[in-house]
């Protein structure tokens, strides 16, 4: 079995999804009308609301949704075997993933470009909006924690990527300065940035920076994030995210080529197809479905669809290629990541120290090096590739976080002065996330993040369903996935909370000592976070069901 079959299978299944199911659903349920003015036109202000071409919007949506979720999530297949993972990525996306992204986009477009908060207020209840808001805060902190620890972990594991990352940040800052301060053209300054990144990778391989302490790397990551958060957007965050998008896209293309060329290079799927329902982390259901988040379905996408793309959709008929198309493309990316994990033999996994996210880099190497050569450079590049995904998303999330703090504390001025600004908010965000990440219970943390993320997807789907019920359209195609996601994720959150409570003080890794008071306290907090997320999710779900019934019965 060659990895190319994953890709071919993906293209066939997703092609079918787009050209049969999606087209049919689109016609029967949403009936997009190219003549209906979209919010981008009715509320056009050139700032939040303005129409852009479907190509731009597709790129925007894809970049927004393609993060570490689809890339790292498939690691869970190392625990359960690749067949269940493959089935979930293919069918999850077929029946739930694209429909979620697309419907939440259309939901916002049909509701004056309103975002999730106001939509849940109007469609469900005021309490649902408050619950959603609380949910989002935890969710953002969890994302930040996960991506901080991942980035630091990659620094530790790939010493060659450290200098490469420093150069990437530098390249971003320099190209930003050339663009905005020296008023150079966008092409030239981009080129300069890319050259600096290439130099960084070469230098990184020559001068690897090693340090065994993860804590040190977390501080390193935090410093980069903090600087990015407090400096004006145009100095660091913006240009770094911008130049980073080139290696980010390049890495995907390279992986794609590696997978396509697999029959020629002779790289095969080496992992077992099925390992059993129970694994160390817990049962396959619900854990596999929450672990492989963004490749199959992800709540993050509803935020991008509603807060981002909905206000820019030119015509309603663009919604399917943008919302659905981007999601199905992301499914392909998840399949390639799955392949990259699966080409490693069980022996190789053991050599790497067991089931780890970083196995991806070695899988990518295995796929690509036979074509390109230059193993250490490919390793450094994919180390950097993972870090830049983690870092750029963390940069954006930390901004969201302090904006959210600012909004939440708006009614309490003294609190707002402390955490409702970019300094305090960023520090608090980094400290809380750092404390979470420090425990070493990363797989549990990932599952907690995945659980909340997928739950958000379920809630978005139920919002869509309520709306569809209100306008007398078929609801089953979103209601069933919503029910499935909510039940699955609530179960996963409970499972994780249970794990933290039962093994209190044990779910840690060095440098944190198991059994200590700090370890217990942190594990306890984790458990509480799980419970809180569970309750908030439940609140929204209960109110949603009431609202759905009312919508079905009334009017």
């Amino acid at each position: 079995m060659y990895p190319i079959w994953f890709v071919i299978l993906g293209v066939i299944v997703y092609g079918l999804a787009y050209f049969t199911y999606a087209k049919w659903y689109d016609k029967h349920v949403w009936e997009p009308d190219p003549k209906k003015p979209t919010p981008a036109h009715t509320y056009m202000d050139g700032i939040t609301f303005f129409p852009v071409s479907k190509y731009v919007l597709y790129g925007f949506q894809f970049k927004g949704i393609a993060g570490l979720g689809p890339i790292l999530g498939p690691f869970i297949a190392l625990m359960y075997g690749w067949v269940p993972a493959l089935i979930w990525i293919l069918l999850g996306n077929f029946f739930i993933g694209w429909i979620h992204d697309y419907s939440s986009l259309m939901l916002s477009v049909r509701n004056e470009g309103k975002t999730m908060g106001p939509l849940s207020y109007e469609l469900i209840s005021p309490r649902a909006r408050r619950a959603l808001l609380g949910f989002l805060v935890f969710y953002l902190i969890l994302i930040l924690a996960v991506f901080m620890v991942l980035c630091s972990l990659f620094f530790k594991v790939y010493p060659a990527s450290v200098l490469a990352m420093i150069f990437l940040v530098l390249g971003g800052v320099v190209s930003g300065a050339l663009l905005y301060k020296a008023k150079m053209g966008v092409g030239t300054s981009t080129l300069v940035g890319i050259i600096i990144i290439i130099i960084g990778i070469i230098l990184g391989v020559q001068v690897p920076i090693k340090h065994p302490s993860l804590a040190l790397w977390m501080v390193f990551t935090s410093i980069i994030l903090f600087i990015a958060a407090v400096t004006p957007l145009m100095w660091v965050t913006q240009p770094v995210v911008y130049v980073a998008s080139f290696p980010a896209i390049f890495g995907i293309l390279l992986l794609f080529i590696g997978a396509l060329a697999s029959p020629a290079t002779g790289v095969r799927i080496e992992q077992p197809g099925y390992l059993g329902f129970m694994a160390k982390a817990g049962p396959m259901w619900p854990l596999l479905t929450v672990s492989i988040a963004c490749g199959a379905i992800s709540g993050w996408h509803s935020l991008i669809s509603t807060s981002g793309s909905a206000s820019q959709l030119d015509v309603e008929t663009d919604a399917l290629p943008v919302g659905g198309g981007a999601m199905l493309t992301e499914g392909l990316l998840a399949l390639m990541s799955l392949a990259a994990y699966m080409v490693l033999t069980p022996g190789e996994i053991k050599e790497l120290g067991g089931v780890k996210w970083t196995c991806l880099v070695h899988g990518a190497k295995k796929l690509i090096v036979p074509i390109t050569g230059g193993e250490p450079y490919i390793e450094a590049f994919y180390g950097l590739w993972l870090e830049l995904y983690a870092l750029t998303i963390a940069m954006i999330v930390i901004r969201f976080l302090w904006l959210t703090f600012g909004e939440i504390t708006a009614g309490v001025p003294p609190l707002r002065v402390i955490i409702g600004n970019k300094w305090g908010g960023s520090i608090i965000g980094l400290l809380v996330a750092g404390a979470f990440a420090y425990t070493g219970a990363w797989i549990n943390l990932w599952l907690l993040f995945g659980g909340s993320n997928q739950l958000l997807a379920g809630l978005a789907l139920i919002l869509v369903t309520i709306y569809l019920a209100k306008v007398k359209k078929p609801t089953i195609y979103t209601l069933a996935p919503a029910a499935f996601m909510i039940v699955t994720c609530e179960a996963a959150l409970l499972w994780e909370a249970k794990d933290f409570f039962l093994k209190m003080g044990q779910l840690v890794k060095p440098p944190m000592k198991a059994g200590t008071l700090a370890a217990k306290a942190l594990n306890f907090i984790f458990g509480v976070v799980g419970i809180v997320l569970f309750i908030l999710g439940l609140l929204v779900a209960i109110d949603a069901i009431k609202a759905y019934r009312k919508a079905k019965a009334g009017g």
């Binding site: 905005y180 053209g185 966008v186 145009m234 913006q238």
Partner: protein
């Protein structure tokens, strides 16, 4: 004896602005007109400007000059009386024209037009329009000396204090505009457009600030601007003057002098047939004259008598000027 008005002017060769402050009806406009007349007779080219909404320069010069622009009422004696309402109407039209030009539209949206109309109807608009006109004339600098009257607790003085507050706001506005422009340019560059965004608002803001600063500086520089208060020997006037002095101090304005107006000649008391009414009145005035001398001696620049008729027409103005400048300490009417 304190320095007389004439001595004061002789000692201030750089003087460009003379302001007469005081309550309505005390003779500010008359004093302004007389000063302008006096300068014109000394070979200067003065401009007399009335900011009083119940404009009275037309009365004094017995000629309709209201809203007619600058008029030479006597050889090299220029006066102007602003028709604020007309200016506001013109200003509104300018704003509308600008909107039409900027957005290439024929009809101003109703909401905007309503805003323009309500803003224009506010009382503050009147004073702003007047002082804007004044600042414009000052900025042009076509005359040797500018003379105008100003109610002490009214708009003009507020304009000076406002200039200080506005400065802070305009700072803030300029900052937000600069940053906004920076972001806009960054966006354009990201899109690969070579954007040179010249923020017209910033230009406009700087223009407003320049005008306000110019106005404030012109009025607060003691070398180029003289502030006089016109008072009469009555209790209220004395209290008002003390209050005004405090306020001037706060604004950084130095009072250049006080003109005591409408003094009944005490020689009238020598007439045995004087009516009790007049007698009492003169005695009262004498009492307050004493207080004025005690309190403000260093500031007093001229004493002007009460005339037996209204100070109207060039002849009367010449007479007032004669009293103010040539016989500052005599109150017997010539």
């Amino acid at each position: 004896m304190p320095k007389s008005l004439k001595e004061f002017f002789d000692a201030s060769p750089e003087l460009r602005i003379v302001v007469y402050a005081g309550k309505g009806g005390l003779g500010k406009t008359t004093a302004s007109a007389a000063t302008a007349y006096w300068f014109s007779k000394r070979g200067k080219k003065p401009l007399c400007f009335s900011t009083d909404p119940q404009a009275s320069l037309s009365d004094i010069f017995e000629r309709d000059i209201f809203g007619k622009g600058v008029i030479e009422v006597a050889p090299s004696l220029y006066v102007v009386e602003i028709d604020a309402d007309k200016r506001i109407a013109e200003f509104q039209e300018e704003v509308r024209a600008k909107i039409r030009e900027l957005y290439k539209i024929e009809k101003i949206p109703d909401e905007i037009d309503e805003y323009i109309r309500t803003a224009a109807a506010e009382p503050a608009m009147h004073e702003s329009a007047t002082y804007d006109a004044m600042a414009e004339l000052l900025a042009k600098g076509e005359y040797d000396i500018y003379i105008f009257d100003m109610p002490p607790f009214g708009h003009g003085v507020r304009m000076i204090s406002m200039a200080q507050i506005l400065d802070a706001w305009i700072d803030k506005m300029e900052e937000t505009r600069r940053k906004a422009a920076e972001y806009e340019e960054a966006v354009a560059r990201l899109k690969g457009l070579s954007a040179k965004t010249e923020d017209e608002v910033l230009v406009e803001l700087r223009e407003i600030r320049r005008k306000l600063d110019f106005f404030r500086e012109s009025l607060t520089n003691p070398k180029t601007c003289a502030f006089f208060m016109v008072i009469i020997p009555e209790k209220m006037a004395i209290l008002d003057t003390e209050r005004a002095l405090e306020m001037f101090d706060k604004l950084g304005i130095k009072l250049s002098g006080i003109i005591v107006n409408q003094i009944y000649p005490p020689s009238l008391l020598e007439n045995p047939n004087i009516s009790t009414f007049l007698k009492n009145r003169i005695e009262m005035q004498q009492k307050y004259m004493k207080v004025i001398w005690e309190k403000f001696e260093e500031y007093i620049r001229a004493l002007v008598p009460m005339f037996d008729r209204e100070p109207k027409g060039l002849d009367m103005i010449a007479k007032v000027a004669e009293h103010m400048f040539e016989r500052p300490w005599e109150v017997d009417v010539i």
